[in-house]
């Protein structure tokens, strides 16, 4: 039993933002109220001895629903040198995430029920964040045959995506959207026309020209976004566009929503925090796909968040080994390690900077993804599982290789001090992280 006192609760699902006391019993939120007295707590929890209740002073801190990240690469099975489900889910709770969606581009690709169940099971064994598998759309990511969507859903998958590659064949995408209607799960589209993207390594523009790096035009993403929303409209399918990074994509999705198409989308915080101007020839931690946007694109992304066109934040946590990233820019793999630094970076630069409100940040990372992917959680409503984050907006920490739970260090914040971190994380009422350290589970 738990009594968190006098904490600023932000729970957009119930439009709540203010000082409250929160009570937890049997892994669930049992009450939220103002200024509870011992007698209230005894009554609500039905107990005599108040000593049985762990009391936490929340003054000056925030309590959020455990954050939900719908785009994470955990690399298991097959690429455990980069990350595994244990290390990735530990990194998640250290970063304030209590539910994560694991992408299917592992080795082998998650394209059968047994594999999806393995991912889920490994998540349970780790006992940290709730790990939900996203399964492939096509067998082996080959873009030729659909996976057994119904069977895999029964095995725990909450979405389907060939993320990392994208489906080039439009008819394949159309069939996927049509068939997936039975599952109720969205198709998550990694929008990238592989011919337009070519062997580029950053956004095409003046910076790519100056650095002599092959550029990826914004259209490599946007033409696929246009294609996919049209196909979703035609089939009545459910689509979620991953990592939107261009102005045209935002405009297309805005129009699609106005047309009544069942589309949602996410934006990666690094696309809001950095632009192509930040790319240097040796700074491979900023080599990401889709590539960092132009300033104009970034403004459009923030506008899309402000007007609700963009539904959620998602990290696209993509760990790579140090050796893989210690290469000339064009040769290094795409991806940024984000789970443990992203909330601080977003809070410090966007919430404190006035670009997003703290309520928006929480909404974009809790109730919105929960609703779209049909997940439990994302709210602190009475009766909900007690997935919670106690957040200290003043907590400062220097990001070091040793401090990270993730196996990888490919973050642009390595060696830098950030401010605003989760200091306690609970999953189903179990304390899994306290004072920035993982609590081993029995």
């Amino acid at each position: 039993m738990l009594w968190i006192k006098n904490v600023t609760v932000i729970d957009p699902a119930q439009d709540l933002s203010g000082l409250r006391d929160v009570l937890v019993q049997e892994g669930k939120i049992s009450a939220i109220g103002e200024n509870f007295q011992v007698r209230d707590v005894q009554t609500i929890l039905g107990i005599e001895q108040i000593e049985k209740v762990k009391q936490i002073e929340g003054t000056g801190k925030y309590l959020f629903p455990g954050l939900i990240d719908v785009h994470v690469h955990l690399r298991e099975p097959g690429q455990e040198n980069k990350e595994d489900i244990r290390s990735g889910s530990r990194a998640a709770v250290r970063g304030g995430f209590t539910s994560i969606l694991a992408m299917a581009n592992t080795a082998p690709v998650i394209d059968q029920r047994a594999l999806a169940e393995f991912v889920r099971l490994q998540g349970q064994r780790a006992g940290m964040a709730r790990v939900y598998p996203v399964a492939a759309v096509t067998k082996g990511f080959k873009g030729q045959e659909l996976v057994e969507m119904m069977d895999i859903r029964a095995g725990g998958a909450v979405g389907f995506s060939d993320d990392g590659k994208g489906i080039q064949n439009a008819e394949m995408m159309r069939l996927a959207l049509e068939y997936a209607k039975m599952t109720g799960c969205p198709i998550i589209s990694h929008c990238e026309d592989s011919d337009l993207a070519g062997s580029g390594s950053m956004r095409r523009g003046e910076v790519s020209a100056r650095l002599g790096l092959r550029g990826i035009p914004a259209s490599a993403e946007s033409v696929m976004v246009a294609r996919d929303v049209l196909l979703a409209g035609e089939t009545g399918g459910k689509i979620h566009i991953a990592h939107v990074s261009t102005k045209q994509s935002v405009e297309i999705i805005r129009t699609a929503k106005a047309m009544g198409i069942d589309v949602t989308c996410e934006v990666n915080p690094h696309h809001l925090l950095f632009t192509d101007q930040d790319v240097t020839l040796t700074g491979t931690s900023l080599k990401v796909n889709p590539p960092l946007p132009s300033e104009e694109d970034q403004d459009a992304l923030l506008q899309g968040l402000a007007d609700g066109t963009i539904d959620m934040l998602a990290t696209d946590h993509a760990p790579h080994t140090w050796e893989e990233k210690a290469k000339p820019f064009a040769e290094a793999p795409f991806g940024i390690n984000a789970l443990e630094t992203v909330l601080a970076a977003v809070w410090q630069n966007l919430a404190t900077g006035g670009k997003l409100t703290s309520e928006q940040v929480v909404k974009l990372w809790s109730v919105n993804p929960a609703r779209r992917f049909g997940l439990a959680g994302g709210t602190l409503q009475t009766g909900a599982a007690a997935d919670m984050v106690l957040f200290d907006s003043e907590y400062r920490e220097t990001v070091t290789a040793d401090s990270l739970e993730s196996k990888a260090q490919n973050t642009p914040f390595l060696g830098k001090e950030l401010k605003g971190f989760p200091i306690m994380t609970w999953v189903g009422g179990r304390l899994v992280m306290e004072n920035r350290k993982i609590i081993p589970q029995k």
Partner: protein
Amino acid sequence: MKWKHKDLLDLENLTAEEIKHILQTAIPMKEILRRPIKKLPTLRGKSVVLLFYEPSTRTRTSFESAAKILGADTTNFSVVQSSVNKGESLLDTAKTLQAMNVDLVIVRHSSSGSAEFLADVLNAGVINGGDGQHAHPTQALLDYFTIQDRLGSFEGKKIVIVGDILHSRVARSNVLGLKKLGAEVALVGPPTLLPPEMSYLGVKTSHDLDRELPGADVVMALRLQLERQQSGLFPSIREYSKLYGLNQERIQRTEKDTIVMHPGPMNRGVEIASDLADSVQSVIEEQVTNGVAVRMALIYLLIGGGVAHVVD
């Protein structure tokens, strides 16, 4: 002038004075090349490694000659005969060179930024012998030496660079320095090889060669990678040559004693006609000679600082 750079990675970080200092240092070097005995003791005991990941006869030979004339020992670390083929990373190669305590590494690599990557790891000096599409500073410097030799100065001179600008490290480096030196540069090529983003260079761009030629003091043709045609960047060699190929007749449009340059190796009959390449206006062979002199100057400045005067 005291030389203060450990490396030469591109021309972005050099001032006009530093560029002129390199060119000035190259003048006595060129004298040495005319001597019957081309060998100095200046850099005796210094080790220079030529780390070439891309095939290059000219640039490698030019650097090797330059280093040897100055008395340095050179070692070739080229892709065919090294552990690079066994998959050793650039980082491990750099660490190996570091362990061998070499004085200077000259690197050519197909990835932009590879020279900077090495320079960050190595205590030794690094000269960029061409990295991806990013920079080829020694080619630019030898071009400046040649222009200065022929035209005396850069101020107000009109220099037209024609060809595959997008993929050219030679064009990028050339423009950076030419602007600093006060020349007026025009870049010419078809839109697919000279796309809008090249505007970052801040010089005139055009798709019409004939319109840019009048008044040009220098016309530099770039080597056309013929395989770009297969990837659809232009319809045919024939049309390219018709629109952008240099020849005797076309060069007369400048109505000046224009000099014609090419970084080599040439595709004769594609970007430049043989009659022009071998004409009195062509300085292409001088570029090669000047390349050795300029590279001697650079090697001297980077690792010869503090030793006795170079010309004994």
